[in-house]
Symmetry: C2
């Protein structure tokens, strides 16, 4: 292992390892239930705004812009704890989620499970907490 | 929203959305504690082997190869449940982790937390369960 990667893994300096697009992966879990709510991305600015404000900010790859979680829907995420992984290319935030994390209206984006036969999914915890047609005025 | 993306979000067909490298992101959480153990990637073959075997397989971007979790260390992951996210580019697996998930010897890869001042990390749950120098014979 190089000295540089050893330092990134064992050191206490915050040195996020951004990918070619300038992003790290962020996993948000529900601080109460432990469920994974969503997987999204943060750039340097989103990381800094999240740390400074205590509310989750992301970078949208499709819209190519910074985005405060809940800015349209009101369904914000208050960050209880933020952790970095070994090589600092992934972030885990434990959050207090207001309402629903998923743009489809579900509490979590992970509302379907994979069954053993690998071709069909089943809904699980898939009730909608809001109507996306109304919230996002599509 | 296109009919295709609506189908991917609301349908029950398993249709993972691979990135340009043929990968989806996978978050593995500890089925007992709810802690995030690691974030890694799966290609089509890793997904299929995971589903078929009930043990986690990943695709290593650095080694450019398929990898059964624990094949060197013995620290395997038995999959209790697998879920897909809304747009099917991320997978969440709840696992029974044998030993430690992280190659550094920690239970989880997320053994450092970010403090408010954004420049220094702190160790948390960072005790090693094994010595990586011995397990991987570096």
């Amino acid at each position: 292992m190089s000295a540089h990667s050893h330092d990134r893994e064992e050191g206490l300096e915050f040195q996020p390892k951004f990918d070619a697009s300038g992003l790290v992966t962020c996993v948000a879990t529900d601080a109460a239930s432990g469920d994974v709510l969503m997987v999204a991305h943060m750039n340097d600015e989103a990381l800094r705004k999240t740390i400074a404000s205590g509310e989750a900010w992301y970078f949208s790859r499709s819209r190519k812009g910074l985005w405060r979680k809940g800015e349209t829907s009101g369904h914000t995420q208050r960050v209880i704890e933020m952790r970095m992984d070994c090589d600092q290319d992934a972030v885990w935030i434990r959050v207090e989620q207001t309402g629903a994390a998923c743009h489809t209206g579900r509490r979590s984006c992970f509302y379907r499970k994979v069954n053993g036969d690998d071709t069909r999914l089943s809904f699980v915890d898939a009730e909608r907490l809001f109507d996306p047609e109304k919230v996002y005025r599509k």
